[in-house]
Each structure stands twice: as C-alpha cells, then as structure tokens.
Amino acid sequence: MGAALDRVTRLEPALHAFLHLTADEARQEARGWDGRYARKGSALPPLAGLPVALKDNLCTRGLPTTAGSRILEGWIPPYDATVVERLRAAGAIILGKTNLDEFAMGSSTENSAFGPTRNPWDPTRVPGGSIRQPAGFCGVVGFKPTYGRVSRYGLIAFASSLDQIGPITRTVADAALLFGVLAGRDALDSTTADAPMPDLSAVLNGGVRGLRIGLPREAFGEGLRDEVRGAVTAAAETLRDLGATLVDIALPAIAYALPTYYLIATSEASTNLARYDGVQYGLRVPAAGLYEMYTQTRAQGFGAEVKRRIMLGTYALSAGYYEGFFLKAQRVRTRIRQEFEAAFASADLVLMPTSPTVAFPFGEKTADPLQMYLADVYTIPVNLAGLPGVSIPCGLAGGLPVGLQLIGRALDDETVLRAAHAYERATEWHTYRPRGTGEPGTGNVGTGGAQR
C-alpha cells in the first residue's frame, strides 16, 4: 500500500489520474489488513489489502462522485455501487476515484470537466477512455466482460445497453481475479445474467491448443496503422505457435458499427442524463422560473461533447426520426450480433487490434468528433454485440504500446481470459514499463528488445 501511494504521490502531478484520493483512509485500512496477515490461521478474503482505484462514475458512499462532470461536482452518493460493495467485501482498499471523459463520453479524457489525464508513456499523448482502448494505449490489461456479467447498479449511466464494468490490471491473472469478485447475478440489476460463474483459477492455465481463432478481414483493412497491423499479426502467429488454429472470418456489418453505436448510445444517453436538472442534487443555477433553471443548469453543467450527444440522441428518438434512426440502428445492432454468432460457428475467439493507432497526441482529434469516434472502431462492435473482450499488450510502435484484442462468445469470458493468459505467459510485452515511472523494467522501452 505504501508503495502504491508513494507512486501516486510522485506521478499524480504529471499524470492527473485521480479526481479524488483517499490516501489516509487507505493507509489506515492497510494497517488493519497487516494486522490480520500477522495473525496466522485467519482466512483472508481474495483481495485482502489490495489497492484498487475506481473510475469516478462508480457511486461510492461518502466519497464524491462526479462522472467527470461539473453538473455532479460536490455530489456525495448515499450508497455504494454493487461492484464497490463487492470489492470492499473482498478486502480491496480504495485508493481514490480516477478521471474520465465527462459521463464516459470520449476516448481521450479530453472531455473531462476537470482536465485531461496524461499517458504515462508520453505525457503529450492521451491515455484513452473506457477499458480496452486505454489498456491498449497504456500497455496494460483491460477486460470488458460479457454484458450482464457485472452489475451496473451504481454505475452512473451513459448508455445503459452498452455500459459494462471491468478491470484494468497489470496481468491477465489479476484481471481474472478481479472479474471473479465483480461478476455475478445482482438482484438490483435486472439485466445481469443468471448464469453460473466458472472457476477461473482452474481454467486460466488451460492454454490455447485446439482453439480456433478467427481474424476478421474487415478489421485489418483501411485505417489501420501499419505498425499496429504488424504487432497484431505477429501476436496471432504467436498464438498459432502455441497451438491455436487461425481462421479467416467475415464481419462485414462492423463497417456500420460506429454510426449504429452513436445512434443507440446517444439515444440512451439523452434520457439517462435528463435527471441532471438542478432539482435534487448536483449543480443548480438559480433562475427566475423552472424552465430557466433547467436550461441554465444544464447549459453550465454539461460540456460540449455531452451536449452534442444529448442533442443527437434527442433527435434520433424524436417523432418522425425514431424509425429511421433509432430502430434502424437497433436492426443493424442485431445484424452485428448475428454476424459474430455466425463467426463463432467456425472460431472460438475473434482476434483484432484494440485500436487502429497507438495513443494519439492531445488536441489531434478534438476539432473533429468523427476522427475521435474512429479511435473506438474495433472496440465498439464488441459492446454492440455484448460480448466479452480483452486488450493485452502485444508490442510497441514508436515507443508506444499496441493492444491485442481477443473477443469471445457471450458468457464465455473464461476462454477469452485463458487465451490472453497463454499469450501473456509466452511474451514479455506486459513487463514493459514507461520511462520515468521509477519501476523495475523501465528501461529499453521502444527498442522492441526483450528486457525485464
């Protein structure tokens, strides 16, 4: 715990990863766990004393929760999200709340009302925004479980049918450990799956021998940077060398994933965010009348991207446009899901890049929202289909991490983690650390050499 807090203290001024730190409470809790460790024979929960940082869109009882927005500045939830409860019960210690794009709407943290977070590999570049995409940009493991595996109760909603909570960790084993704690049916979230959870520790070391891994040709075409293609193709070959079979698959409808996602997500967001009206909690801009209070509170409380998405979603749900936009997007979503299902007839996993590029510089895409949306071109089809997906480090390009994405069948989270674990065991990309973070193995980034 001391080491984790020291590192936060040292790096936070340069990175601005946290919106709220709970260092004192964390130290105190850690001492409590030290005592329990010392007493022999007492059974300890799975995450006893382990430090965890929570994205600031997870409600934490007694701790400020902003979702990266001015409109929630100062709001202190009276309740814990289900995942927070489960983490606490498993012995995890909360270090603080981390920054995010306002209401998780973005790919770079540039939309946070409280300033951007910097990429530890290069402070002039973005860290990304979500689970897999930032894991890819920052050279760590990011796992998005099957939609419905992890309760969303207490997650401040952006797009209800697409939002999913998952871990970002150093290793796949850590991600699996955390997933085991987070996942499971929750009576407070009707959309959670009532499906048995696998014993992850038993399957994690199963290897990839005999697995068929599908490479969608559409994911390796236009827009993909050569050095990313090279690293991901090499990773596929590594998996083949480990005993997997590579197969060619087709997912033509993912070409329509971006517009589909941005119609469904904005439609849901436009009503999810209607509650921020100045009446009960958060920002209230006093005004003469009710509607003036509504409009001024929302005008001052929301940032530009949030407003853009609320307007887009409101439009897509409006009379006369609903059929052409929202319903059509739902049909394309079904089509994408069906194509994945068809692909899973000939493959056990789908492999593609996490992102088309490495982490991009600040400001590069802020002027053009469409360019920004393209940063998620490989991750959002998986959200639309509700499938489990993981990003693991698979190389460096120009000194910056490249992410490999593995996608599995719905509720087959364990095969995704198993294959990712096998790849991680066979390679050393996950051991590389950015320069200047003062960690073992920091040197030699960007050389491509295997050096721990």
Partner: protein, 429 residues
C-alpha cells in the same frame, strides 16, 4: 350556459383513462413501502429518487395484480411486453422520464382488447370495451406552499414517486356522463373484488381522466377535450355534464372546440383550461434498457384467470337469479365489496329479502336504505362504515359522520343495528 342541461341534437362520446394505485407492499421498481400518509420523503431510496447509477427492478406482485385486472376485464394478455421511457421534464418526475408501457406495434402493453359489461336500465348488460391495461410508476407529489415552512416554494414529496400504477383505458364507448359514472363505479367494485385496489378516489388511489367530445349522431368524432382532477364518482358525472354543455354551447355558436386539457374545479363546478402550454408533446418513447422484457407464459395467465373470485357482474346476475332482486337493487348491492358483504351477511341471517327501501336523510344527496326481510322484525341497515366518507368534505372540512347520519352519535348508534353485526362481516371480507 346551464351545465346540467343535456345537450340535444348532439351525441356525447366519452372515453376514460383510469389510473389505479395497486395494493402492493412495495413500490414498482424498488423495495420502499407504499403506505399512504407517511411523513414526506420518508419512503425513498436511490431508485425512486432517481439518483445517478440506480436501476429499476420490477415488482412481481404489481405484475400479478395487473394480470388479475387484465383477466377480470377479459383482456388478451400478451406473453411478452416491454417497458418504455416516457420523456418529459417536470419536478415531480425524479428521472425526468416515467417508466411506463407504451403501445408500440412490436411491443404491446401488458394486456389489450378487453371489456366490462355494465348493467343497463332494464337489467340487460352493455359492454364497454377496454383498449389496454398497462403498468407504470407514479410521480412524486408536488405541494405548492402558500404558507408554512417554505411560502412561495414548491415542495416535492417523493413518497409517491414509484408507487405502482396501473392504467386502464377504455374505448370511446360511453355515451353519457351518468354512464361514465356507472362504468367507473362498476370498475371500482371489480378492482375491489379482485383485491387490486382500495378504490379510494379521495386518497388518489383511483384517478380518472376523461376524453369527451360531441358529434352529430353517427357522424365523425368531434374535437375532444381531456378533463382531469375529478376526485369522486359524483364529480366525474358533474364535470362531464358541465363539459358536454360547454362544448355544445361552443358548437351552437358555430365556433370550433379547442383540443385542450381542462381541470375540474369541484367548488366552482366548472372546468377550466390548464395554464401549461398546449404545444404538442413529443415524449420520445423508447424501450427501457434497464429492464428485461416482461414474459407471461400462457400457463401463468391461465392460472391467474382460474384464481379470480366471483366478479361483481356475475354476482349481480346471481342476486337477480337466486334472490329475485330487482335490477336496481342487485346493481346497488354489488356496487362495492362492502355492500356485497353486507348483503351476503343479511341473507345468511335472514333469508328471503323482501325489499330494499331507500331514503335521502338530511341534506345529503346520497341515498341510503335498509332491507326488509321475511324474518327480521326491524329494517336492516348497512353498517355505517360502508357509507363512511373518508377525507374531507367539499368545503375542505374533515367529515365527522357518514353520509346517512347527521351527528357522530347517531352514526355510532346506527353502526350496530340489533340482530345484525355487519361490521364483522365487512372486516372478514
């Protein structure tokens, strides 16, 4: 303009939308209690307050009560229905959308296409068709404080937010204000009989809005107005009679009736147009992504149908057939659970009822009466508790006695007529 005058030359067309608070222990989407009259904001949680991150979970008991109603109204129960968000901004709506069941072609509500038979003048039945039965959540209660702790402010009591509501919508099958009143009374008796609702209009557990228009007999439907804020059976009839006369006067002047929402003012006995802007609202309905589709198997629907008790209309026919009651008396004795319980207890103790005689005591316009039976030496009155009017009088004062009695003492004295203890029968029912 004489509000009570029946419009001549025009046919009145009325459809009703009835909101029913369901008799559940907890709210529609959370575990908060639904007790009426609790101190403000003491029955709330993150879900019914619409706090960020909270999610709804459907109340299974509310679904069951909705299905009982659908079965009793002989509706088609849909095996798969969905909830939708109805989007609009108002401070009584914590999420600024209401979770409801919108009728969309691919997403039917809980039940559609039913009907309720009404006893006609001569005892024959006339059917009012039911368009739909669906479930939704209630809004919070707004209190506009003129005085007290926050004069000039609007206060919000979230105790009511999320209370289970069922909406029953009729086809425009009603042809008179008195027919609307009769229908609503029979629907209320039915909801009480199947233990879905207390039916207390004065507590807001049963609320009725009406759409009313005039047309030349057999002609196309006229422009309708929606009338709200009718808090008793009597005010439904009065408000609709007023509104029919108002529309007739407009039409006879050669002016068009404006499509608008009007509120009934019980004290002044008029309807008035709402002050809110009447621009066409686009509620942007779309499927609620936080809830899974509501699936009702054929077997479950059949089970619900089989579990229904005797319904008021069947009971009414039985009273006519078995006891030879006149049409009027049979309708009256099945107008509420309490009346039916009183009648059942009467005939259990004194078979062969020989006649119901009605009186209009005091200044009250409500009629009460008593049974004469072949064996009882005295008239048998319903217990006063069956006639007790809860809440407040029209003048705003709390009522101290029932409609029949002039003083509380008289009320108490009459509550236990010799030989019959109807109260215990009512309690047991």
């Amino acid at each position: 303009m004489t509000p009570r005058a029946a419009p001549s030359g025009y046919e009145i067309v009325i459809g009703l939308e009835i909101h029913v608070q369901l008799r559940t222990q907890s709210k529609m989407f959370c575990a908060c209690p639904t007790t009426f009259g609790a101190p403000p904001n003491t029955q709330t949680c993150p879900v019914c307050l619409g706090l960020p991150g909270s999610l709804p979970v459907l109340n299974a008991r509310a679904v069951e009560l909705g299905l009982r109603t659908a079965a009793a109204l002989e509706c088609q129960i849909h095996t798969r229905s969905r909830f939708h968000r109805k989007n609009y901004y108002y401070p009584d709506l914590p999420k600024n959308y209401q979770i409801t069941q919108y009728e969309y072609k691919v997403h039917p509500p809980l039940a559609t296409q039913g009907g309720l038979d009404l006893p006609g003048e001569q005892g024959e039945a006339r059917r009012v068709h039911i368009r739909r039965v669906h479930l939704e959540e209630d809004t919070a209660r707004l209190v506009h404080a003129e005085t007290g702790v926050a004069p000039g402010h609007s206060l919000i009591d979230f105790n009511r937010a999320g209370v289970p509501l069922m909406e029953v919508v009729t086809e425009p099958d009603l042809r008179s204000p008195s027919g609307a009143r009769l229908f609503l009374g029979r629907l209320r008796a039915l909801l009480q009989a199947i233990e879905v609702s207390t039916g207390r209009m004065e507590e807001g557990s049963l609320r009725c809005d009406a759409n009313i228009s005039l047309r030349s007999p057999g002609g196309a439907l006229g422009v309708r107005t929606e009338v709200k804020n009718m808090n008793s059976l009597r005010s439904v009839e009065r408000a609709l009679a007023y509104e029919a006369a108002r529309q007739q006067a407009i039409l006879e002047r050669g002016d068009p009736v404006g499509q608008e929402t009007r509120h009934w003012d019980e004290r002044r006995a008029v309807t008035f147009a709402s002050r809110t802007k009447e621009e066409a609202q686009d509620y942007r309905y779309f499927p609620e992504p936080d809830l899974v589709p509501l699936v009702v198997s054929e077997g479950a629907a059949a089970e619900i149908r089989a579990s229904l008790p005797e319904l008021p209309e069947a009971r009414r026919r039985r009273y006519v057939d078995a006891y030879g009651l006149p049409a009027h008396d049979a309708a009256l004795m099945t107008s509420s659970q309490a009346m039916a319980a009183f009648f059942e207890e009467t005939v259990r103790r004194h078979p062969h009822p020989t006649g119901w005689s009605e009186t209009s005591p005091g200044t009250s316009t409500a009629k009460v009466g008593s049974w004469r039976t072949c064996r009882s030496p005295r008239p048998i009155w319903p217990s006063c508790s069956t006639l007790w009017t809860r809440g407040r009088s029209a003048a705003g004062r709390p009522r101290r006695s029932c409609r029949r009695c002039s003083t509380p003492d008289a009320c108490r004295a009459r509550s236990s007529p010799p030989g019959v203890s109807v109260r215990s029968a009512i309690r047991a029912s």
